[in-house]
Chain length 283, copies 2
Amino acid sequence: MRYPEILAIRSAPASVDYDEKDAILYALSLGAAAEPDDPAGLAFVYEKGLLTLPTFPAILARGSGPIIEEGGLDYLRIVHGEQRLRLLRPLPPRGRLVSQARCLGVVDKGADKGALVNIEDTISDAETGEPYATVILTLFCRGDGGFGGPAEGGLPIHEVPDRAPDLELALPTRPDQALLYRLNGDTNPLHADPETAVRAGFERPILHGLCTYGIAARAILRAYGENRPDRIAAFDVRFASPVYPGETIVTRMWKDGAVVSFDCVVAERGVTVIRNGRCELRA
Amino acid sequence: MRYPEILAIRSAPASVDYDEKDAILYALSLGAAAEPDDPAGLAFVYEKGLLTLPTFPAILARGSGPIIEEGGLDYLRIVHGEQRLRLLRPLPPRGRLVSQARCLGVVDKGADKGALVNIEDTISDAETGEPYATVILTLFCRGDGGFGGPAEGGLPIHEVPDRAPDLELALPTRPDQALLYRLNGDTNPLHADPETAVRAGFERPILHGLCTYGIAARAILRAYGENRPDRIAAFDVRFASPVYPGETIVTRMWKDGAVVSFDCVVAERGVTVIRNGRCELRA
């Protein structure tokens, strides 16, 4: 890691064009029409009156790559640790965006453990400059600890309540879920190639963390947001373990005022895959 | 219909660019990785060593629209009757093609019945000019009969044998199959919008005929072609009735030498959806 230079890096503004096909592919790759009786109906999957899912900005953010590269991070040893979203307003079904990222801060966990690097990517309208969303990534950089930075700090971690969940919603994934999700742009072979997956220590190819993230958001949007994407103001998670395509993701929710705390468990294995979830609802 | 002028129409050569993402989306939209134990493995859905499905040219043919328009056909009353393919060699996983169509011939069934219009679209390499495939459409033009053309002719119809099928293979479709298939380019609302479907006389949105076509080809490719796309030399069908997304398509096959006769039946309703199927195998 190039420290403290990394703290001053701004990625070059990246232009991002997308259209209805991208928005629909994203929704279908999260299973948005997999159940014939999905209460969202065609809202996210048909161009007439098309709405975009609240987590759509997560796949349109383009700035973290340049920060990783210019910041001198050891790319091959990075684990995607946390994902946050501040959504000012849902994206329109087509548009031209600008994505620009900066390093929000770093934490030095020591040479044997690694570093935490927080990157904030702002997604704005290319024409008006008005922001739509901020996407915040926390990278756990296992190869970058011991760089002499602060040992404390980082972003606050939300704790879910101690009581039993108020609501649980199970959403299935399919054997080809990761293969479809890859078409959104993250073509890391870890999500398709059995050999790569085994070399990385997994039984078989794993689902993208951001796919699980989007599925959790679909669950909360249905349970507490009437499937209206403008109801979601923030959506933050910590990734705990991967999902294998074909497994069922159970989102467990606790609602306290405008905040829905949540985590996600794989029904088949009882493993927690998302922890410390926090969704902020807008009235 | 502008007759006999239609017989002389050649569509302007259309340039068609496609890449691995298009080929993989096409395969996934035919359910090519829906079953975790599909014997084709990742052959059609992962960019490493990617092969394209033999029916892929069917969605890259661009010439029939201009023939329909310049030929003065009543677009709204056209039914897609038959589909044929001559495959010289499978398409590479990315490329630039030229699609050019001509009217092969017309049959006048009378003013009360309509017209049959055969359109042949040749798909060639844009650089070398070498053809990959010929895609032949038969349109049943219900609004164009009685134009004074020949009452007989047209393309030969293959009859399947009288004996019990040699082999049957059931392939499932999913509730969102048509929504995904639409992303290949045919965004007719008939395949997504319940109101449009009901107005057209269907219970709900129907699967694209070419999706059923591609699924039938996957069945034969698996049963008799070792999942090697170069084994398919020709693939011809007559569409009999639509499939509803979520239904199971049973392909019934009869093999006689290099020819596999086939039809397709929806398991849930016992309705024949493809008739007069003929697949020619290459050694």
